[in-house]
């Protein structure tokens, strides 16, 4: 079994905004195990409310919540509050509808405010690496 010392090696407050209850809970359990303090929101609206009173170190945001583009708007507001807060966007859009959202060029990246975009399902290790890279890299 993993040692507690190895498991609780992270610090920082993360926001997880996702309307998929199962995906969110699974992510939260794993991130907490890594030592993070995790704030949960099941909608962009709930996330905005949390941002009013909390300061976060990084956000993991689902693209499609109340609306198909809720995540983009939320991301924009996070960056507005602090442009240096890293935002990881995740989306099931491409696997469900075949629509690809790809922020490959600089122009696209400047339009999508997220720092990185992952397609669901995301391997937790991959997500964790990205978080570590943003927080310490």
């Amino acid at each position: 079994m993993m040692s507690e010392a190895k498991a609780k090696r992270h610090q920082g407050t993360l926001l997880v905004a996702d309307d998929d209850d199962d995906y969110r809970l699974q992510l939260v359990l794993q991130l907490q195990r890594e030592g993070f303090r995790v704030l949960e929101a099941d909608s962009a609206q709930a996330a905005e409310a949390l941002l009013q009173r909390e300061t976060i170190d990084l956000a993991i945001v689902d693209v499609v919540m109340e609306n198909w583009d809720s995540g983009f708007t939320l991301c924009y507001h996070i960056k507005q509050k602090n442009p240096r807060t890293p935002v990881i966007m995740v989306t099931a859009v491409s696997s469900e509808t075949g629509i690809d959202i790809d922020a490959a060029t600089d122009e696209e990246r400047s339009w999508v405010k997220a720092d990185v975009l992952f397609a669901k399902p995301v391997r937790f290790e991959q997500l964790l690496n990205q978080i570590e890279h943003f927080l310490h890299g």
Partner: protein, 383 residues
């Protein structure tokens, strides 16, 4: 309809005869000939191409098959029967009419065995030709329509299975995720930390089970496999039992369920079918209600049969959502229904059962005010 446009009104005819006069005669007889097909909403006309030998005909047909083949049996090279044998295999609506100068029974039998549709003995009058062509054209058009319907059915089936696959994969994926978390002790060594994961896994497994049960039920009803037993049944008692079934869920959310109707309503019906209808309507009325709302179920006798009206004070639907309601797996996915689990098959089942009982389902709904579903069944009254 879009489908009808695909059923062309113009059939291609290929006449194969070594006598040029015969080919021209056929072309002339069919030039202005029109066969009305009122059932399909079209008039069939003909365009005629000609070939002087079996070889020439096969070469032409390799480029594309006609709809009707008028084929002389006695040709200079290969015979008409051989042409029939060498026709490309595969799905087509081609019908062949054999033309024979000396109509022997033997030729006729061989030609039919090779797939010819009809015969035309030489010499024939233009009217005789048109009579045979009219019959064959009708067969072509019907075969084509049947093939289109079969293709549409396959498409609907494919869509159904695709959506079903997705609906089953989603809860399975969630359960797998929780199992991995437990396997990896990803929430630490405290057992209590996994309580929510276990609870959610059970909810998703339950949802999968419900979907599969509904699917089996729908399939049994659709295929006519479910044995129906029409027996004297008290519809009011069925409604009371359904109300008791939803009572725990209703109570938990402060929803009151009220029944209205006669003391008893005896009908000749399949009791299980009535139960499925009543349970589905009442379950939906509770599920999509607001906390503290009301459900009113009214049963009334009608001539013939009965009407069951279930009204709720729930989230309601827009006109656009109501229009889509009877599609399979159509669950209104929006912020209001996000936490409500359902298979999306309930109303499809109710509709199938209503139709089976010579009845119908109608829905009236207002967003944020409520939905009223009325099921009318044409049931004979029981003594």
């Amino acid at each position: 309809m879009a489908d009808q446009a695909a059923v062309t009104g113009r059939l291609r005819v290929l006449v194969v005869d070594d006598e040029p006069g015969m080919c021209r005669g056929v072309a002339r007889a069919l030039e202005r000939f029109a066969v009305p097909e009122p059932d399909l909403g079209l008039t069939v006309s003909f365009s005629v191409a000609q070939a002087a030998s079996g070889e020439e005909a096969l070469a032409m047909m390799a480029q594309g098959l006609p709809d009707l083949l008028l084929l002389d049996h006695k040709l200079p090279g290969i015979s008409g029967i051989e042409v029939l044998e060498r026709l490309p295999a595969g799905e087509h609506d081609l019908q062949t009419i054999m033309i024979t100068a000396y109509a022997s029974l033997e030729t006729a039998v061989t030609a039919i065995k090779r797939g010819a549709y009809d015969f035309l003995p030489k010499p024939f009058t233009p009217d005789e030709l048109r009579a045979v062509v009219r019959k064959a054209a009708h067969a072509v058009v019907l075969a084509r329509q049947a093939r289109q319907l079969a293709a549409e059915k396959r498409q609907v089936r494919f869509q159904f299975i695709s959506v079903l696959g997705h609906e089953l994969k989603a809860p399975l994926g969630a359960i797998e995720g929780y199992l991995r978390i437990m396997r990896d002790r990803a929430a630490g060594s405290e057992l209590a930390a996994y309580d929510e994961a276990v609870a959610r896994s059970l909810v998703r497994a339950d949802q999968m089970r419900k979907l599969i049960e509904d699917l089996l039920q729908l399939t049994r009803i659709e295929s006519g496999q479910r044995a129906r037993t029409l027996a004297p049944t008290d519809a009011m008692a069925v409604l009371r039992a359904a109300a008791e079934t939803v009572q725990p869920d209703a109570q938990a959310r402060g929803i009151s369920v009220t029944l209205a109707g006669p003391v008893t309503l005896p009908v000749l019906a399949d009791a299980t079918e009535l139960e499925i209808i009543a349970n589905n309507l009442l379950t939906n009325a509770v599920k999509y209600n607001r906390d503290g709302g009301t459900v009113t179920a009214t049963l009334a006798s009608a001539a013939p049969g009965l009407t069951l009206t279930v009204a709720d004070t729930g989230i309601g639907m827009t006109a656009e959502e109501t229009a889509r309601l009877f599609g399979e797996f159509v669950r209104m996915r929006n912020a209001k229904t996000k936490h409500i689990l359902g298979s999306g098959l309930g109303l499809s089942i109710v509709k199938k059962l209503a139709e089976l009982n010579g009845g119908s389902v109608t829905v009236a709904s207002t967003p944020d005010a409520g939905t009223t579903v009325t099921v009318a069944l044409a049931l004979p009254a029981a003594g």
